[in-house]
Amino acid sequence: MHCRRFLSAPISRRQMLAQSAGGFGAVALAAMLATEQRSSAAPAPFAPHLPHFPARARNVIFLYMEGGVSHVDTFDPKPLLDKENGQPFKMKAEPTQFNNNGNTLASPWKFRRYGQSGIPVSELFPHVAKCVDSLSIIRSMTSGFSEHAAANYFLHTGTGQQGRPSMGSWAAYGLGSIGQDLPAFIVLNSGKMPIGGPDNFNSGFLPATYQGSIFRGGATAVANVAPLEPRPRLQLDKLKLMRRLDADASPTGEDRQVESAIANYEMAFRMQSAVPDVMSLAGESAATQELYGIGSATPMTRAYAESCLRARRLIERGVRFVELTVPVYPGDPDTWDAHGNLRKNHEANSLAVDQPIAALLTDLKSRGLLDETLVVWASEFGRTPFAQGSDGRDHNPFGFTIWMAGGGTKPGNIYGATDEYGYKAVENKCEIYDLHATMLHLLGIDHKRLTYRWGGRDMRLTDVHGEILTGVLA
């Protein structure tokens, strides 16, 4: 008996979509809350769902700048800092993480205006600066937390506590996946697992189906995705026997859960080849590789270039939400967290991400993908305009910069403002909830209607908050 369920050849995208639309693939991934959902007649949760209203973005690429990029050194120039450099900081300083506040600290980097929009960008981001006409820059973001772990959880899950569903999980829960041989929410680990750990990407109380799958670089990007058997035939033999014995033991259709578990092996089997395929950059042209910086002499740049290029490949294959962590140079896990030696820290970190990010934007645009792909660049908080010690900056959740591009956002746009020191948001102040509401909105989801009942409440990514930032919509 030929085992038709295990296809050794990759199936086409069209086939995949056909399968997932109403077929076996969707059932394979159904999450089952015991048996009581049997009659709920809800569509299988991983199948593509219809959004609440027409979506502007189909996918999200979330460029997570962990550690806290200094906004006053990158996208939010503050001339007053130059003027008062070295003087005692004139605003009242809120409590900080290290309580080692120094004087007002000018940015060591110069800003220039770029593009038709004339938006100023510092010399830390020369490549991204050239794409500035594609960006919608929010200069008035705020967070509720001054500590990394809590702020990371807050940025990812809308709660400053551990264990809630990540925004990628919510997107997957709300929209399902497009392809059926890859998870809907993938995290590309460029080197640094963020503070707070995998719970930044977990599905929390949502079914594990929506959990972020953390991919490393290379062929064994996913845990257990590489077959143990040295030859495919050996695994196929085993799978064939498994199929037969499963059928012997329980007649087809007897129990939906068992059927689903059987079918689940189909997707797992396909992932074994789909993952190495999507992670491999061998098929990318030399020009593309060059554009991203794959050949860079800097290992950090190389690592991030690979992640950015893989992100594009993943969304091309229908992955709904891709998040990138930042690379890390050996021996210094602090990423953007420049408590001291701001200059060295930010130069190293911007060097790592600048070219790859610009390449990603350029590449998406040239392939016509930027319109339907929302790119978000964000830290968990910004940094203080006054020094920590003499040459660092402490955490600042009261006002900082993030930007979005594509996916229905308004290009060449600046939204909101901080005060003249860049300390606190004072114009169009935004909250993380607003960011989430807006991202979901662009995906066609009403954040107030995307709920999951847990612990006696209908939980939302935005809790009881969130307003759509109409000022960044195209």
């Binding site: 991934l29 995998p198 953390i214 498994m242 089997f269």
Partner: protein, 1192 residues
């Protein structure tokens, strides 16, 4: 101050401050010049009312508003104030309309904070936080604070700061009296204000919350009814009292129950349900062959008696209390000894501890008069239960420590109420519950129990260590007598040496030791301070030998005067104005004066002046005597003892804390708002590692935490804090001694002027010669040592001076044995030997995270959940809807948790038994009678069989809360014996199987899958208890940096073969295989796990090295059985994995595989029966079969 007459209606806001004025005219406090005349707003805003400086403007507002609003608002706007009115209409109202009405008006989609800015009276009343402004006082007005954007917790409008000119206009408006003209069209002024409370302490305005109506409307609040099993048609089907309930409902729907399943199915099912492990082939075959009518009952009893039962059901319980070995968050720090709690739960289930006892121990196990003791080692079991409170996520170095506490307590309340009550009380953190009969006050009433409790690492083998300390204490008493007697003997020649030390020429008596004389001289040479006990001697001796009696008497009077003066100074210096003394051990009539002491080291009371610190040998039997007040000393019996001393909780109204202490390898922590993870950044200054035998002041600068609640903790223990980065310098055999802890606004410690020791002789009537003084000194020494011998010295009123004198003698070696002297030291030798021997036998302290009482405190309701915005006080009690509104108040001391536990378990509370029987039902049958096992509230699902639920709850209580009996009854029911096979018609009538028309097919829990793999392979190691096996670090986990909590060394791939319950649960490094199969993150109560179906599960079973390794182990163990044919091997493996032999088709499929796959692997036919590689693949396939992970 300007006083301006203002027409009443325009000044009504000011009325609260002037309730004594005649109703027709009002005086506005503060400047009320026309705003246009006063461009200088800053000056306006900084002036304060001259007549009245309210410390709490809110309180005054409240009083004033009640007194006078109703009268003064009746008047109407007069033309004289039209300018102000115009200002409001042209400058103020437009700002409100543009920026505020969206959330604060009648047209707001949802009124925020209960505040309206479109209605004069509503605005006067204020929102949930009370009135928004104080007319004339922008600096005291919330509204102005909010638009000023200086307070991060209070910024309005929320998104964008108002332009400066608008901020100025609003400030000016408030400064000039906040005139808000009445519009006649509004329906007549003043009609709504009379009698209104200005402040809504209860539900937010506009939300109807009727507790009793909600309580009456929902089933779960109703008492448990005593019901009998219903009558059924098919009376032969029921096997026990449960079955009629199930059958009756089926019959109502015209359904019949499923047929009984076969024996192999039910033993596999029962084995997994009760023990979480598959039945062994021997047990299966024995059961199949047992024809006795009670064959299955015997199986069930055996399974319930197996230690595996406790392991499995403990894991269920651990889901409820979000069990974890670490704190997660940034550093994933350890919760030291968390595993003790896991073991406690396992033991409790195995011993079938009555559930009411188990609940009591969780909530108040530390407060039981007679804690339950482990039958084997006699250690305290009860207190371990309280450890569950501390399994919450722990934030590292929070910038807002009160917020961190509020978040942490929220999680504790959530877990407490879901676990024991099945209620989502934590939904009422910010407002009254949206659906259930739970008020916000109920939430904060529980908060107080946590606030009055503290974290500790409780000593479990306390009885053992108490006995050991008693032994040391007895030895010390023996030493007291022997040492004092020896020293008194040595003091017999004191007078002679004193005289000799003053003589110019050689010794008068050649029997005196020249060395000792020199020692005396040297010691006396250093005496110059008037406070010194020898000061009178030195001064008198300085007069020389030939002095007149008269001159000597004059000198003596002078000396006595000086000493008396110093006495007065010393007494006066004890208190510095404004300082708060936290440690007043000397004033305490007994014990530690309200401080909290744990373990043995500090003893029953502080050491008072005149008490002694033991020396180390017969030569120095006493090290010194306590003086300068009373000392809490953790080394007074032995440095080997451990102990902790904690202060009462105080409010940090002062910036500095000065502590006067000495110690070795000990620490002093200041724990603020229950935050005990003392580490950098931000918190390292809250720890002082004490490593200096000389007592000194240490000053903590607490300026960052002003206004917070805090307590000080002196710890002489190696027990780590609530994280595993124990500070350097802390050791097992240290001590800490403290005499003073002072809160002060001054950064310099209080001066210390000791009582003058010379008073021991200055009070003596006749000193007329040096000899008489020397005699007096000797007499005092001998007397004092005799008093020490009998234990009376420290009770003497002059104990301080005597102690200082004796200490000086001892510390200067003046009471050492004389050179060449022969003493009988045998008795002392024996005592010191006994002491060393006893010290070496100190039992090793065993500890567990636990909860103990601190200072009794209630918490305020936090308005909208914001800790910075406290509302009315919410005294500790159970939710009103459970225990009524007239619960007796919590005790004045301690947390009152024992009371809380008793109220929870009161027969009038229907939740505790119902919730537990429902949990047990869920685990036995795969679905709860109330499917939402953690939520019995309005958003939960109602019970499918309410009568059955009440029947079981009643029975549970009657059967003395025995969980095992409950499970036994369920498993022996006929309902449990039903087949799981699909049934076309019944499945369509009851598609969700809500009526239990058959047994649901269930996937095994993650831990059972892993345990099953280990058992089937034979690798399982059934050792119980102890520290967890470290998690295996997969390549993904290796990528994590160590600073964020990655263990230095990962555990073995197979977890050392231990059951999954013994794997360490690291929040940031959960075992991937368990996570893949839905083991929940330890976040909050998870009574019902998700059952998902994701590729990671298939990938795990197909490709995970652990599964493959175990497949190999299994294959080798089967092949190692002697004389098994291929077919017999297959049969054996089937029984091991599935409790049944393979069918013919299955057998043939595997044989075919052996043939084909053998060829593919290049295994020759004659080696086929024994090739481990080939058979490992068979084993691997069997582990991948669905039957392996599903229970039918």
């Amino acid at each position: 101050m300007t006083i301006t007459d203002v027409p009443c209606d325009n000044a009504w806001f000011a009325a609260p401050f002037a309730p004594w004025l005649a109703p027709s005219r009002q005086i506005t406090m503060g400047p009320v010049r026309q705003a246009q005349d006063r461009p200088d707003h800053d000056a306006t805003m900084t002036q304060r009312p001259a007549r009245l400086r309210p410390s709490s403007w809110r309180a005054l507002l409240l009083v004033g508003a009640v007194l006078s609003i109703s009268r003064c608002v009746l008047a109407r706007s007069s033309p004289a104030d039209s300018t102000n009115a115009d200002f409001f209409e042209t400058r103020v109202r437009p700002i409100f309309a543009e920026h505020c009405y969206k959330c604060h008006s009648s047209r707001a989609e949802k009124l925020k904070g209960g505040l309206r800015l479109d209605d004069r009276d509503a605005f006067a009343k204020g929102g949930e936080s009370g009135p928004e402004i104080v007319p004339g006082h922008p600096e005291n007005s919330r509204l102005i604070e909010a638009i000023g954007y200086q307070n991060p917790d209070l910024q309005m409008p929320p998104k964008t700061r108002l332009p400066p000119d608008q901020v100025a206009d609003l400030s000016r408006w408030v400064a000039t009296g906040a005139v808000w003209p009445v519009r006649l069209a509004q329906g007549g002024p003043g009609t709504t204000s009379a009698g209104q409370q200005p402040r809504a302490a209860q539900a937010p305005a506009g939300v109807a919350f009727d507790l009793q109506a909600r309580r009456a409307a929902h089933w779960a609040w109703q008492p448990i009814r005593r019901v009998q099993p219903p009558a059924v048609v098919h009376g032969d089907w029921p096997r026990g009292p449960i079955d009629p309930f199930i059958l009756a409902r089926l019959e109502q729907q015209g359904l019949t129950p499923a047929a009984d399943c076969d024996r192999r199915t039910i033993i596999r099912r029962a084995s997994f349900v009760i023990t979480g492990l598959p039945a062994t082939p021997q047990d299966v075959e024995a059961f199949v062959a047992d024809d006795a009518p009670d064959a299955f009952a015997k199986v069930v009893d055996r399974l319930l008696a197996s230690p595996r039962f406790g392991e499995h059901w403990a894991r269920h319980w651990m889901d409820l209390v979000r069990y974890s070995d670490t704190l997660g968050n940034e550093a994933d720090a350890s919760i030291p000894n968390a595993w003790q709690y896991r073991d406690y739960v396992i033991r409790a289930f195995n011993a079938d501890i009555p559930y009411d006892q188990f609940v009591t121990e969780h909530i108040a196990g530390d407060l039981l008069g007679h804690p339950r003791r482990d039958p084997d080692c006699r250690s305290n079991e009860s207190i371990i239960g309280t450890g569950f409170f501390w399994m919450n996520e722990g934030k590292r170095s929070p910038v807002d420590v009160r917020q961190a506490e509020a978040d942490c307590f929220d999680n504790k309340i959530d877990v407490l109420c879901k676990t024991f009550l099945g209620l989502t009380v934590s939904c009422a953190r910010c407002h009254d519950h949206k659906f259930d009969a739970i008020t916000q006050r109920d939430y904060y009433a529980l908060y107080g129990y946590l606030k009055s409790s503290r974290y500790t690492q409780a000593l479990l083998n306390r009885a053992e260590l108490d006995a050991h300390a008693d032994e040391l204490s007895a030895i010390r008493e023996r030493l007291r007598g022997a040492a004092a007697a020896v020293l008194a003997d040595r003091a017999a020649s004191l007078s002679s040496y004193l005289m000799a030390s003053g003589a110019q020429a050689g010794p008068a008596d050649d029997r005196l030791s020249p060395q000792r004389i020199a020692q005396w001289r040297n010691s006396l040479h250093a005496v110059s301070d008037v406070g010194h006990p020898m000061y009178p001697w030195v001064k008198m001796a300085s007069l020389g030998a030939g002095v007149s009696q008269e001159a000597a008497a004059t000198q003596w009077r002078g000396i006595a005067g000086q000493v008396t003066k110093r006495e007065a100074e010393a007494t006066a210096s004890q208190r510095r104005e404004g300082d708060i003394e936290l440690a007043q051990f000397g004033d305490a009539s007994s014990g530690f004066g309200g401080w909290f002491v744990e373990d043995q080291a500090f003893g029953p009371a502080p050491c008072r002046p005149g008490d002694f610190l033991a020396g180390d040998s017969p030569r120095h039997p006493i090290q010194t005597l306590f003086r300068d007040g009373a000392w809490a000393h953790s080394g007074y019996l032995s440095r080997r003892l451990q102990g902790t001393l904690r202060s009462p909780t105080v409010t940090l109204d002062h910036r500095y804390l000065h502590v006067f202490a000495a110690g070795r390898q000990a620490r002093v922590n200041v724990n603020i708002e229950h935050f005990v993870m003392i580490q950098s950044p931000l918190y390292e200054s809250l720890r002082w590692v004490v490593n200096d035998d000389g007592a000194r002041w240490h000053t903590f600068d607490l300026g960052m935490w002003k206004g917070c609640r805090a307590y000080i903790e002196f710890a002489d223990t190696t027990t780590p804090d609530l994280h595993d980065t124990a500070p350097a310098g802390i050791g097992a055999d240290g001590y800490v001694a403290v005499s003073r802890a002072v809160l002060s606004d001054r950064n310099d410690p209080p001066p210390r002027i000791g009582l003058p020791g010379g008073s021991i002789v200055t009070g003596i009537q006749r000193i007329d010669s040096l000899q008489s003084l020397a005699d007096a000194y000797q007499r005092v020494a001998v007397e004092s040592l005799q008093a020490l011998e009998t234990g009376e010295l420290s009770a003497r009123p002059d104990a301080e001076a005597r102690a200082s004198y004796l200490s000086w003698l001892i510390e200067n070696g003046l009471l050492d044995p004389l050179p060449g002297a022969k003493e009988d030291t045998q008795r002392l030798e024996t005592i010191f030997n006994d002491r060393r021997d006893a010290e070496s036998r100190r039992p090793e302290p065993e500890r567990a995270p636990a909860t103990i009482d601190g200072t009794a405190e209630d918490e305020h309701v936090f308005i909208r959940g914001n800790h910075a915005n406290p509302g009315p006080l919410a005294p500790r009690r159970l939710p009103e809807a459970i225990a009524g509104d007239s619960q007796p108040p919590a005790p004045a001391t301690g947390s009152g948790r024992l009371d809380l536990a008793r109220r929870l378990l009161d027969p009038s509370d229907p939740f505790v038994p119902r919730v537990m029987v429902n949990r047990v039902w869920y685990h036995v049958f795969g679905r709860g009678i109330v499917p939402t096992v953690d939520n019995f509230g309005a958003l939960g699902e109602p019970p499918t069989h309410p009568e059955l639920l009440d029947f079981l709850a009643t029975r549970f209580v009657e059967e003395k809360w025995s969980v095992k009996k409950l499970i036994r009854e369920m498993v022996l029911s006929r309902t449990f014996a039903m087949s799981s096979a699909g049934r076309g018609e019944a499945d369509s009538v009851d598609p969700d199987n809500r009526l239990f028309h058959r047994m649901p097919v269930r996937r095994l829990e993650a831990e059972s899958i892993r345990d099953e793999i280990l058992q089937v392979s034979g690798r399982i190691d059934l050792r119980m208890y102890g520290p967890g096996v470290e998690v295996f670090l997969t390549p993904e986990m290796q990528a994590y940096v160590e600073a964020y909590g990655k263990p230095a060394h990962g555990g073995p791939l197979d977890g050392a073969g231990r059951r999954s319950v013994y794997l360490t649960v690291r929040r940031n490094f959960l075992t991937p295989m368990l996570v893949a199969f839905d083991a929940p993150p330890p976040l909050s109560t998870v009574g019902r796990r998700t059952v998902s179906n994701v590729p990671a599960q298939a990938l795990t079973m197909m490709n995970d090295p652990f599964v493959a390794e175990q497949a190999g182990v299994w294959a080798r163990s089967v092949l190692a059985m002697p004389g098994l044919s291929e077919e017999a091997c297959i049969r054996r493996m089937y029984v091991e994995a599935f409790a049944r032999p393979p069918s013919a088709a299955e057998l043939s499929d595997v044989l075919t595989f052996l043939d084909e796959h053998g060829k593919e692997l290049g295994v020759p036919p004659d080696r086929r029966a024994s090739d481990p590689r080939l058979w490992a693949d068979v084993a691997h396939v069997l582990m991948n079969l669905k039957e392996f992970i599903f229970i039918h």
